[in-house]
């Protein structure tokens, strides 16, 4: 135990299991990351300083769509402090191309050059890298760069992109369509719609958002001559995937690239794709044989990194007279911007929406068309929830609209339709493992009632105020294994994880995980899993992640996979090590391995003598007295295990309940209460799970009410600072009341399901429904986010002072 951890635990009394029996799993153990982060001793990418280090910035496109006719960097080199400037041609870099194994009629692969060559496709696209003695001089250098363009007409909206005769963003992609899939199409679905007593339609759009980790992207690249290896320190959620792309682009063996991830200031998906700049910086460092650092500034982070979530839905649902859904038909268009991200491709959003839209409901007939269109806007990456915040919002709107049309209570209509018998195989051919859909809905409604919000809504109405109550009931597929990702037909199929647990002669263990914490507390939660499995104090367990030389392989952290998949691999590896320890102990006593058992701190004889041999003594034999080992036991104490999910994954679920008050004069949507009933199976650390819920909900509210990346009709981004991109503060984000249900997963090693994204998924739907409930007297229903003050004012028939 290091001193800060010891002091921390002494001081807080926070850091011990509180559950009966002393289990670490299930205890809100104090985070082991905290002492360094609280004292300023974290090490983020921009904290790295290397001898002789230079600083890079990028010359970026100033027009949305153009042929590049010339890049003149001669004046850049005259700027004091500038050391070098390189174009794509100078660095001879390969392209980054993400692919799906789908026919040309469904998917078109497009190349994303590391630096743009003869064509630019969005404002902010990198064209050249300027390297200087300090970051200030690098910025000076950018101003001296001269790029000449022959403008092409920009394509700035999905509607424009799909219009006949629209200019092409990528010449190889007709109709600017990168993905076009039609799925399921249940036989007879048209007849169901024709014969249904009620058909409701929702046409919804959701705003383009920035995942907005507070730490922008960045990288430090340096050549290590002693190791004959490039060291690329970069804040990525997917270190091994960055290594693969860097090695290929730089034409190196993968062993000659080491990717190390320092502390990370958030990612939320934006950092789970390979960035062009991190590769360009590596190339510049190799060329100059000097360490090169690049730290993205906020303007570039807002305009030129990866965005998400701009989707358009045209959805219909048929209902019977009792409010049971009969069929769902949806057309989904996702505006993916200028490029396909690696490794997920531009298919990420439409494929997620198409496969999973029926969600928690028993939908007998389903048809969907999902498209990814390319436009002259910054490209997109997966963002926390990936399409689920959007399709859940559309589903919940369909049910609310049907409830209104049928004169039913909006909770009751959901109750009649949610899946209650598990496992359930849906019309989308996905099998849902057990969850608490109905229970979460009932409990959430009861809490809203008990907290007095139904009565408050009535009182408010009597006073002429506008209170509304809204719900979202949803599930979230987590723990995608390689089988589930293979169904998407990704050429690069993520899914499994590998863990190694190694014990040293002092009985302490180091554990590797292929997942990559960037705020999710893996150093704590993964250690809890190992501490329980081996009967160790958590202080004896150290987690290693984010180093491609230390970790055999990994898929990083995204899609709420870390605890479900990575945590399972960790537990299996620890169990394997436990077996080895048992064999060594048994041999020492001349017993068979099944005559001994793991207990806290060592191995005990089962014969009732109570005799225990401690881990340090067994480790002493394994390493320092190997001659005492039985013949079939190899020296050393390490064990490696892999884990994968061979079915459709595991579904976390939740119901969110929101109470809002609308202020017709200002158009403000005030959130009066936010309740969340969540079920992520076994919560390894409930405090951490609640943190994920609250943080996720805040990002969901941001999308529902505040944040939107906008462009003018020439593709010029209009939100280039925090003055224009409105990130909510403690003023806007309410306290959240959380209640836990627990339906353990049957096939993860700890019973845990993923918990990272649910908050973000439920919030937009719940907020939008609450706003619509409050708008009921006006007859207006809204289906689009963000809900701006102007929209609310208009709904109340107020004059808008500043038309948008």
């Amino acid at each position: 135990m290091n001193d800060t951890t010891a002091a921390h635990q002494r001081a807080t009394g926070h850091g011990r299991p509180t559950t009966p029996g002393g289990a670490w799993i299930g205890a809100s153990v104090g985070r082991r990351e905290d002492p360094r982060l609280l004292t300023g001793r974290g090490r983020f990418t921009d904290d790295i300083q290397l001898p002789g280090m230079l600083h890079a910035q990028f010359v970026r496109a100033t027009v949305a769509h153009a042929t590049v006719t010339g890049i003149d960097l001669s004046a850049v080199l005259d700027v004091p402090g500038v050391v070098a400037a390189f174009t794509a041609e100078d660095l001879e870099l390969g392209d980054i191309t993400a692919r799906l194994g789908r026919p040309a009629s469904e998917f078109v692969a497009t190349a994303m050059p590391v630096l743009a060559r003869d064509r630019v496709r969005f404002v902010g696209e990198p064209l050249a890298v300027v390297v200087a003695r300090d970051a200030y001089a690098a910025e000076d250098g950018l101003e001296a760069a001269k790029v000449s363009y022959e403008p092409r007409p920009p394509v700035v909206s999905a509607a424009r992109a799909l219009a006949p005769g629209a200019p092409l963003v990528h010449d190889e992609a007709p109709l600017n369509t990168l993905l076009d899939v039609s799925m399921f199409a249940t036989e007879g679905i048209d007849a169901v719609f024709d014969g249904a007593p009620h058909v409701v339609r929702v046409r919804a759009s959701t705003g383009r958002q920035n995942a907005l980790p507070l730490e922008t992207r960045g990288a430090v690249a340096s050549w290590d001559a002693r190791e004959d290896q490039l060291l690329l320190q970069t804040c990525t959620q997917v270190p091994h995937q960055v290594r693969t792309v860097a090695a290929r682009c730089l034409r190196l063996d993968e062993r000659a690239v080491r990717v190390v991830v320092p502390d990370m200031g958030g990612g939320f998906g934006l950092k789970c794709v390979v960035g062009r700049e991190e590769i360009a910086v590596a190339a510049a460092a190799l060329r100059l044989d000097r360490p090169v650092k690049w730290i993205e500034d906020r303007k570039d982070a807002l305009t030129a990194s990866f965005l998400a979530r701009e989707q358009h839905y045209d959805a219909r649902a048929a209902f019977d007279a009792d409010g049971r859904i009969l069929a769902l038909d949806a057309d989904v268009v996702c505006d993916m911007g200028a490029y396909s991200c690696y490794p997920f491709t531009a298919g990420i959003e439409p494929l997620m929406a198409s496969a999973e839209m029926p969600g928690v409901y028993k939908v007998p007939a389903y048809r969907v068309r999902g498209r990814a269109v390319t436009t002259n806007k910054a490209p997109t990456a997966p963002y926390r929830g990936v399409s689920r915040p959007q399709y859940v919002m559309v589903m919940e709107r369909l049910f609310e609209r049907a409830a209104r049309e049928l004169g039913m209570d909006p909770v009751e209509i959901r109750r009649r339709n949610v899946i209650t018998d598990f496992p359930y195989t849906g019309v989308n051919r996905i099998t849902y493992d057990p969850g608490s859909y109905r229970e979460s809905l009932d409990l959430c409604e009861r809490l809203v009632r008990e907290e007095g919000w139904y009565a408050a809504r009535e009182e408010a109405a009597a006073e002429g105020r506008h209170l509304g109550i809204g719900y979202a009931c949803f599930s979230e597929r987590t723990g995608y294994g390689s089988a589930a990702f293979a169904q998407r037909k990704m050429e690069v199929v993520p899914g499994f994880d590998i863990s190694e647990v190694r014990m040293d002669t002092s009985g302490a263990v180091v554990v590797t995980t292929g997942t990559m914490s960037h705020g999710q507390s893996h150093e704590t939660t993964m250690a809890q899993i190992v501490a329980d499995e081996l009967g160790l104090d958590i202080a004896k367990v150290r987690i290693h992640q984010g180093d491609t030389d230390r970790v055999t392989y990994g898929w990083g952290t995204f899609a709420s996979r870390s605890i479900a998949v990575g945590g399972s691999a960790v537990r299996l590896a620890a169990a394997k090590l436990g077996e080895k320890l048992c064999r060594i102990a048994a041999a020492r006593w001349e017993l068979s391995p099944d005559a001994v058992e793991l207990v806290t701190g060592g191995i005990r004889r089962r014969d009732g003598t109570g005799e225990v041999v401690g881990f340090p003594e067994l480790a002493d034999i394994a390493y320092l007295k190997a001659h005492l080992l039985p013949k079939d036991v190899e020296p050393g104490l390490s064990a490696t295990a892999t884990f994968d999910v061979f079915n459709d994954g595991t579904f976390s679920n939740a119901t969110h309940g929101v109470v809002v008050e609308l202020h017709p004069g200002t158009g403000q949507v005030e959130i009066l209460a936010y309740l969340c009933v969540e079920d992520c199976g076994v919560a390894i650390n409930p405090q951490v799970v609640e943190g994920q819920c609250r943080g996720g909900i805040a990002q969901g509210i941001a999308g529902a009410l505040f944040e939107q990346v906008t462009y003018d009709d020439q593709g010029e981004p209009s939100a280039t600072s925090f003055m224009d991109y409105k990130v909510p503060t403690a003023h806007e984000i309410p306290d959240v009341l959380i209640r836990h249900l627990q339906t353990p997963c049957a096939f993860t090693e700890t019973g845990a399901k993923g918990a990272g994204e649910g908050g973000t998924i439920g919030a937009p739907a719940a907020v939008l429904n609450a706003v619509n409930d409050a708008l009921r007297p006006t007859g207006t229903e809204l289906d689009t986010t963000p809900i701006t003050p102007e929209t609310v004012q208009r709904a109340f028939g107020r004059t808008v002072e500043h038309p948008s």
């Binding site: 800060t4 002091a7 921390h8 001081a11 807080t12 926070h14 104090g30 985070r31 990351e33 905290d34 982060l37 609280l38 004292t39 300023g40 090490r43 983020f44 921009d46 904290d47 300083q49 080199l77 005259d78 700027v79 004091p80 402090g81 500038v82 050391v83 070098a84 003695r133 970051a135 200030y136 907005l212 980790p213 507070l214 730490e215 922008t216 502390d263 200031g265 958030g266 939320f268 730290i295 500034d297 906020r298 960037h518 705020g519 507390s521 609640e690 943190g691 609250r694 943080g695 996720g696 805040a698 600072s721 925090f722 003055m723 990130v727 503060t729 403690a730 003023h731 984000i733 959240v736």
Partner: protein, 165 residues
């Protein structure tokens, strides 16, 4: 490749966490860059460089200030405190302990800014109500926590301090 002469520099003295440091820097160098890259006090972070996010908040003569909006030269003569000054002898301060107990941080990038904001505010208003604390917390951005646990941590720390006095 060009290697031209450095730009004009000036010699300044900064008083940081009770220590005086002489720095030879360009006049345009911001306080946060001087702290981070010249004094290697990397606990103070940079989130936006335009004074909105507050990740770079430090205390200047006891008051919270955005170190990205000040030139280092402007801080001459002032007493500057950064997050590195909060813990003593390896023991977390009461404010830092409150943050960890309430899970007031996840990725930790914004945390030093919130700590210094709270440290300065509570020194000035030890009797602050929870609503006043929320108001102050709204000065900075956090993308991970949803703010509730930050407000609770500061409120709890304030309450404990009042109990002790």
């Amino acid at each position: 490749m060009t290697d031209t002469a450095p730009r004009e520099r000036q010699l300044i003295t900064l008083d940081v966490n009770g220590e005086r440091h002489e720095l030879l820097i360009e006049p345009r160098r911001t306080l946060v860059d001087a702290l981070r890259h010249d004094l290697l006090l990397t606990g103070t972070h940079v989130g936006c460089e335009h004074g909105i996010c507050g990740a770079c908040t430090v205390l200047v003569d006891g008051a919270p200030a955005r170190a990205c909006l000040m030139f280092a030269a402007q801080a001459e003569g002032a007493r500057i405190r950064t997050v590195e000054s909060l813990a003593e002898d390896g023991e977390l301060s009461d404010l830092q302990r409150a943050f960890t107990e309430h899970h007031g941080l996840q990725c930790g990038f914004c945390t030093p800014g919130f700590l210094m904001l709270a440290e300065g505010f509570l020194a000035e208003r030890p009797a602050a109500t929870k609503e006043e604390i929320r108001e102050v917390v709204a000065s900075n951005l956090c993308r991970c926590t949803g703010y509730q646990t930050i407000v609770e941590a500061i409120d709890d720390c304030a309450a404990r301090r009042r109990k002790e006095t």
